[in-house]
């Protein structure tokens, strides 16, 4: 018998601090597999956000920065401009990227910065206990939208991939999910494509991942997956929003 699935080498063999059923763990593994498969562990640099995944460097064993809230793309830019030969990625939540870090992500894309962003959209601020995010759905209850988000007062959830796809410097933008094995595999493909886009110097690349966040959603992990499918996907359609031009 042969091992056909095991922990990727780019991951430390440790238990994570995430809630049971949290999507972060799946995405971490996909990044690690990508790094392993591309053989780039020794030249990959990650930038962890402020959010539940702030401790990402405890799980992936490439060189890493811990960013300030929202500023991962700026830090990645600083690093990439010093070491253009490295593969630099940021890993960011929806509070981090779509709220406080809006300017940084838009301008990293506009500059066509040769970095990759893995964007975890779980429609909430996980780390701080479940406040509303810019991606929180209409009607969704959070600790700061206790009666459900209304468009009257707070407008509409931001569709980050759609926005970034309008920007010339963004070479590759895709939205995926990790709700079932098929989509996990697609997410993996997208992440790999994003890294390759960077390695080919084609510009900025971003993969948005719809991710389950059971605890602050106040759901079981299974219900959380159902919620991703039934509520998130209709508003956040999966798919490739921008395709790298010269991808081989």
């Amino acid at each position: 018998m042969k091992k056909v699935f095991e922990r990727p080498k780019s991951m430390y063999p440790v238990s994570t601090h995430y809630c049971p059923g949290c999507g972060h763990g799946i995405v971490h593994r996909l990044i690690a597999e990508t790094i392993d498969e591309l053989g780039i562990l020794e030249r990959t640099v990650g930038v962890a956000p402020v959010g539940c995944s702030v401790l990402l460097y405890n799980y992936l064993n490439c060189d890493m920065y811990e960013a300030a809230h929202g500023r991962a793309p700026a830090i990645a830019t600083g690093c990439k401009r010093v070491h253009p030969e490295l593969v630099v990625f940021t890993y960011q939540g929806d509070g981090d990227l779509a709220s406080i870090g809006t300017a940084e992500i838009i301008h990293a894309a506009a500059r066509g910065e040769k970095i990759t962003t893995i964007f975890i959209n779980n429609a909430i601020y996980g780390m701080t206990g479940g406040q509303m995010a810019p991606t929180t759905l209409i009607g969704q209850k959070t600790t700061t939208s206790p009666f459900g988000r209304t468009s009257k007062d707070t407008g509409y959830p931001l569709r980050v991939s759609e926005i970034l796809a309008t920007i010339d410097g963004a070479a590759y933008v895709e939205r995926v999910a990790v709700n079932d094995p098929k989509n996990v595999m697609r997410a993996k493909k997208a992440i790999k494509k994003a890294f390759k886009t960077q390695m080919k110097d084609l510009g900025f690349s971003l993969v948005e991942v719809l991710s389950q966040c059971p605890t602050p959603w106040r759901m079981s992990p299974r219900d959380a997956i159902k919620w991703v499918e039934e509520k998130m996907m209709p508003y956040y359609p999966l798919g490739e929003f921008k395709s790298p031009k010269r991808e081989g």
């Binding site: 562990l41 920065y65 830019t77 690093c79």
Partner: protein
């Protein structure tokens, strides 16, 4: 180089950075310092440097964070409101112990204020405008030549302590033209940077971070920083004492205000009033001991600042009640007038007789 040329303070600061081996600049335009990025946007291509205008001061300081963490000699520059926006980042850089140089060419505040010279960011620079117990090493040049010299040294100091170093000047220092000569750097060797982000090739992972969730661990981290600051205090205090030996009254001033004070002192000495000057060059660490020493010899000190009284607190902490501390300040872009300094000193001297 080694030849005197005429340059604005801003240009001299920028060229000094180039001479010091700085090859990365991230910043955002703001008067009265935009000539620094402008100069470097022209100059860096000649030496293979990377000039990048960021989308904001916040992005700038975090690009600096990224580049410093990656091992580069890196700088940013701005002026008062822009420096305020960098406070979170400066706290992060201090916490992560990254070397970098930050230039603040101060203008009048608060708020949008004005664009004329000022020294109103003394507190922010020296006490820490960001959160947490941290310190930036602050250098306050008073001539274009000194701006260039200190700028070159700033990079070494940053490396030595793995700490941000701030050059604190005012709008006039940035805009004025004076002769400047770029001294050959004694050494361009930088301390080992085995902690930097370069890709984990042949070694374990490096992490540049500032989060320590366990309070006992964070306390130890803070105490480590504290020991570093104590080292700076021990080793890096700098001050110019000008005609203090025989002085009956001491003016304390830094940067531009100190130059104006020098002219006042000349006038006063012509009038047979023996005034002297203590000019702190490092604002953090502050030369308290020098103040303590002079306070034992004179009855009166006059603090002159381009603000409404900030460094005076440090002067008082140094003097510790041993002499009277007076104040003359102009603010909002107004600069102290040497005739008024003369008048103030004359008044103090007269009253203390």
């Amino acid at each position: 180089m080694g030849k005197k040329t005429l340059m604005t303070g801003n240009e001299a600061i920028a060229e000094a950075a180039v001479q010091a081996g700085c090859r990365h600049f991230f910043g955002y335009p703001i008067t009265p310092q935009s000539e620094i990025p402008e100069y470097l946007s022209k100059r860096f291509p000649e030496v293979g440097g990377c000039f990048l205008q960021a989308e904001s001061e916040i992005a700038s300081i975090y690009m600096v964070f990224g580049a410093a963490g990656a091992g580069a000699r890196v700088m940013t520059s701005s002026s008062s409101p822009g420096i305020s926006l960098m406070q979170e980042g400066i706290s992060y850089i201090s916490a992560a112990e990254l070397p970098c140089v930050i230039v603040n060419v101060m203008r009048g505040g608060p708020g949008l204020g004005g664009i004329q010279p000022s020294q109103s960011d003394y507190f922010q620079a020296t006490k820490g405008g960001g959160h947490g117990d941290y310190h930036v090493l602050v250098l306050a040049p008073s001539t274009v030549q000194e701006a260039a010299d200190l700028m070159m040294e700033a990079f070494d100091l940053a490396d030595k302590y793995r700490n941000p170093v701030m050059i604190l000047g005012d709008g006039f220092l940035g805009q004025m033209i004076e002769p400047v000569e770029f001294k050959h750097m004694s050494s361009t060797d930088r301390p080992a940077r085995d902690w930097t982000i370069t890709g984990a090739k042949g070694r374990a992972q490096n992490v540049v971070k500032s989060l320590y969730l366990k309070p006992d661990v964070l306390e130890q981290h803070n105490l480590g920083l504290h020991r570093k600051y104590q080292k700076m205090i021990k080793n890096e205090r700098r001050v110019e004492a000008y005609l203090t030996e025989d002085a009956q009254i001491i003016i304390v001033a830094f940067g531009m205000a100190a130059r104006i004070a020098k002219t006042a002192i000349k006038i006063l000495r012509e009038k047979d009033i023996k005034a002297g000057l203590v000019r702190p060059i490092t604002l953090f660490p502050f030369p308290y001991q020098t103040l303590e020493r002079v306070a034992e010899k004179v009855d009166n000190l006059l603090v002159v600042e381009m603000n409404l009284g900030q460094m005076i607190e440090d002067v008082k902490l140094g003097v510790c009640g041993k002499a009277e501390v007076h104040f003359y300040g102009r603010v909002g872009g107004m600069v102290p007038n040497y005739d008024e300094i003369v008048a103030d000193v004359e008044k103090i001297v007269k009253e203390s007789r």
